[in-house]
Structures are given as C-alpha cells and as structure tokens.
C-alpha cells in the first residue's frame, strides 16, 4: 500500500498514469460527494470531479510535498466549483430568494418536509462549501481556510452563518 506522496511523485516525475489512477480511486468518493451536495446534480458533480482530476494531472508538477495532497486536491476542487459558480451565481441567488419567500408564505411546512438537500440550497456557495467540509468531511477550520484560500476567521464566519441558516430552516419545518 503506497502513500499519497509516493503516488504523487510517480505521477509527477514519471507521468505514471497507473499511480495517478490509484489517487483518483482513493479520492473520487469524497470529491464527487462534495460536488453532489454543492450542486444537487449527479451528472454535473461527475463533470466537475473529472475537471478537478484533469487539473490535478496537469498541475501535479507544482504540488509541493510540504502540503498535504488532500488539502491541495480540495483547493483545486473548490476553484473548479468557484469557476463554475461564476456562471450560475445569479441562478443560485434567485433560487435562495425563491426558497426564502416560500418559507415565509408556506404555512403548511410539514408538506415540504425536512430535506437535507433543500436545506443546503438555503446557504450561499461559500457557506455551503465550509459547512460540508467541516461537518461532512471532518476538516478543521485551518485546513478549510487553506482549501478556500481565505483567513480562518472568514471560515468561522461562513460556519456561523451556515449553522444559523440551517438551524432556522430545520426549526421552521419541525
């Protein structure tokens, strides 16, 4: 059983696709899961995950062994999602606004049901990323700040707002 550093060095120095395949196999599940919960779309999550691994393959020479491979991988995944989000940002905002309005007007909340995926849609992109990395992928605030390329305090703010919104959502439908 080889570790990440060994597989990364083989892929980077020798262009070893078998070693790279082992890395993809090891990380495909958490990366696809993250994209699925971020987008709510299985096919789109596959495409974004594929884009991520292609970017990793192209830029693997710039990976520095001092950093953890998973942190670097999630950072690329976040950038891929961020780039994709630029084109769909307006759509997401409209969706959140619609959902908020529905929450205000819907008096029969129980019909809507407690739905995890809907709850995530209430969050802004950065809040959703931070919440998923922290609560689902068990990453620390410091690691998330490296992945999202922002200060740890900003991540704490995202988590704080995320907790408030999710709690509000679930309390509304309980």
């Amino acid at each position: 059983m080889h570790n990440d550093a060994w597989l990364v060095s083989r892929a980077a120095l020798l262009g070893d696709k078998k070693a790279f395949c082992r890395l993809v196999e090891a990380y495909q599940s958490p990366i696809r899961r993250l994209f699925y919960h971020l987008t709510g779309d299985e096919e789109l999550s596959k495409d974004l995950a594929q884009d991520t691994f292609i970017k990793v393959w192209i830029n693997i020479g710039s990976f520095r062994a001092a950093a953890k491979f998973s942190t670097w991988l999630y950072r690329i995944a976040y950038n891929v999602f961020h780039d994709h989000g630029r084109t769909t940002m307006q759509k997401a905002v409209t969706e959140v606004e619609k959902l908020s309005n529905k929450m205000k007007t819907d008096t029969s909340g129980k019909d809507f049901g407690i739905d995890f995926e809907h709850a995530l849609r209430v969050l802004k992109d950065e809040e959703r990323v931070a919440m998923l990395l922290f609560y689902m992928e068990d990453q620390t605030v410091v690691t998330i700040s490296k992945m999202m390329n922002c200060p740890a305090n900003t991540v704490k703010s995202y988590l704080h707002r995320g907790r408030e919104k999710i709690s509000k959502y679930f309390n509304h439908y309980e």
Partner: protein, 107 residues
C-alpha cells in the same frame, strides 16, 4: 438546533460513492502531459557517468579491464575487483542510456 444534532444530520447524509469504473474513465481521458524529468535525469546521469569514467580511467584502460575480466572468467579464475567494478560501471551506464532511449521512445 444544537451542534450535536447538526453533526448527526451531516453524518447521516455522508455516503460513499462507488467507483464503478469512473476512475479508469477519468484516467483514459487525461490530456497528454509529457514529463521532462525522465529525460533530464537521464541526461544528467549519462553526463556524470561519462565524466567519472573518463576522469578515473581512459578508454583503453577500460577496454583492458573488461578484457581481463572476460579472460579471468573464461579461465575460471577470480577476476580482479578493479575489472569487476569497471564492468559494472559500463553496464550501469549502458543501462541508463538504454532506459533513457526507451523512455524517449514512449514519450
């Protein structure tokens, strides 16, 4: 909603996604990325090898040493350590050159 309940909700929705050949599909569609490192390593190794070889002994001496080694083996005698080391050095150098040529051919 408290922290414990929040963690529970996220944990409940954390499911492993089966690979089902997806990784192989991704690797098959990777763009070509020609690594320059093997060639660089090979060139440096060959240059160091050649420099050391000529710095320590001239070509005639190397041929004489290898000749002495083959003579020793054919007469079932113990070869001299110098002849053996020279032979191993030449073998290593030709191996490196061969590997470099093979890698260049793959690329």
């Amino acid at each position: 909603m408290n922290e414990k309940a929040l963690r529970k909700i996220f944990a409940e929705h954390k499911t492993d996604i089966p690979d089902k050949g997806w990784s192989e599909h991704v690797v098959k569609h990777l763009p070509p990325r020609k690594s320059v490192m093997p060639q660089v390593v090979m060139i440096i190794s060959v240059l160091i090898g050649l420099t050391l070889m000529f710095a320590i002994q001239d070509v005639t001496t190397i041929i004489e040493q290898i000749d002495s080694l083959t003579t020793s083996i054919s007469l079932l005698q113990m070869p001299s350590p110098t002849a053996l080391l020279t032979y191993l050095g030449v073998l290593l150098l030709t191996g490196v050159i061969g590997f470099g040529v093979a890698r260049a051919g793959e690329g």
